[in-house]
Symmetry: C2
Amino acid sequence: VDEADRRDIASLFRYAENSVGAIMTTDYAWLPINLTTGQAIERLRAQAPDRETIYYVYVLDEATRRMLGILSLRALVMSEPGTPIRDVMLKRDPITLRASDDREKAATALIKYDLLALPVLDDDGRLVGIVTHDDIVDVITQEATEDIQRAGGMEALDRPYLEVGFWEMMKKRGGWLSILFLGEMLTATAMTYFQGEIEKAVVLAMFVPLIISSGGNSGSQASTLVIRSLALIELRLRDWWRVLGRELKSGLALGTWLGLIGFLRVAIWHYTGLYDYGEHHFLVGLTVFLALIGVVTLGSVSGSMLPFILRRIGFDPATSSAPFVATLVDVSGLVIYFTVAVLILTGRVL
Amino acid sequence: VDEADRRDIASLFRYAENSVGAIMTTDYAWLPINLTTGQAIERLRAQAPDRETIYYVYVLDEATRRMLGILSLRALVMSEPGTPIRDVMLKRDPITLRASDDREKAATALIKYDLLALPVLDDDGRLVGIVTHDDIVDVITQEATEDIQRAGGMEALDRPYLEVGFWEMMKKRGGWLSILFLGEMLTATAMTYFQGEIEKAVVLAMFVPLIISSGGNSGSQASTLVIRSLALIELRLRDWWRVLGRELKSGLALGTWLGLIGFLRVAIWHYTGLYDYGEHHFLVGLTVFLALIGVVTLGSVSGSMLPFILRRIGFDPATSSAPFVATLVDVSGLVIYFTVAVLILTGRVL
């Protein structure tokens, strides 16, 4: 059965796109149980030229096709020719799949146990196909590509860049761009709310991109880390509390660091005469400093918690892509920044 | 040789961290050339229990350890017992590696040719080790993790999230955050340059985050797509021209779409009385419309070209992460936006 036939078979059975059924092959080597290893090798010689792999051979009940065990070619070759294969085959708890399983399950099992192939059984324990290591490697690569593309703030393409048609590309990118744009519109609303402050101290507008992008960047880091760790099962849902603690600490430290640079920016520009921040330049610098601590901490915390929340309510954590987190943090970052400004500058600049 | 010993051997020879040498095993099965397949199987029975894999057996010159061919266990089992192994082994153009090769080369070759293991030779063609499929699967997963983390705007962690110490995490994240912050400082400079316009029409400041973030988002999409395609060798350096054409077209289409939404935002808010954009509200809407076309096109084009430029001058394309592109586009996006505003609004609002 070649690649094209295999696809036909898969589509015939209408296995879902990301299911084990869609990547399995029916082109496995099998043997009945009442053989010696010597006889088994003879039988394999006859059928092997047509089989995708003979490194794992499946021992089936001839009448029902129920799987009784797995025989590795290594074990077969290593044993004395007269040994019954039932003494050499692996019987207990073999890792098996269902055709309806998610293909990621196959990938995880194959990686964890360093296997060359996994058997796919039906509800009655009959062998319906096998998933081989080379197909799993393709799955791992494709899944990583999808994760990376979603992290970039778009729907995953299912084909190479140059093979995707123009309008399909527009759909995959335009959908998310529109959602992000609608979300980002709230920044205009937030700024309208603080229009009076901007009119009195236009200097405040100068720092808007600098401050909100810092929150977006720290949020992008945090969400990327957590999404990947959840995908690799290095983090589980119950770890959210530990992550929150770490990200709160990280956000405060990173925010203080950027805040110091921001404060120095104001001081250096002021004292070298590059820009006149007026008599209250210290307070302007302080506003930038405190706003950055708040915004970067908000970015780290919301970027790290959003994937947990999405997973908890049954969505894909990867939806909280870097651009998505950045949009959320842009809006709330503006509110933090102008609130700090009002608290510190009212009565002086404002 | 178990896992721990293998690491020792690797460190003994001081192979670079991401080299083939660091993941290879010296624990391969080998045979001299003057054997029949039957004799070969007998010899394998003796040495196989200690070998990591016997599915590929390496045929070596006994005196020099030069590799003469590769024998698959499948071919060995399939052939008649009296056949000389030199007639069964694979001699011509086998894919071989050097210990100093990047481990990604091993991954690419193994995926492309669906192999179980690859031989590692020294300069004289002597077999120094093999790289097996299970180690390659780990490499693929790790490389994807590194790419995803760099796409999130940080240095790749080399261990799971919860195992990385606080200060190490600060270093990996703080470095890039600082670079992005310093770059983003140019937005404050750019806005200072247009301070006069903002003072005259504070409404211009309201749309700053909306407009520049749209450029960042489209740039993030484009850079993510191109970086991943370069990594998978779906795109090569010479394809830059085709990508430029596509991204120019995509950017114009997506920018026009977002521009229309932006224009509608101004019109709807104005006519429903949510915000009074004054008598020149049409021109304000037009400014937003045209600026979005310019900024989104700039984002798509620069996001897609930057990875090519970085690769061309010898840097890792992954350096042009989404946050890095967003920072570049924020600065130039501001210039585009205010230039459009000056062109359209001077004499009316300005």
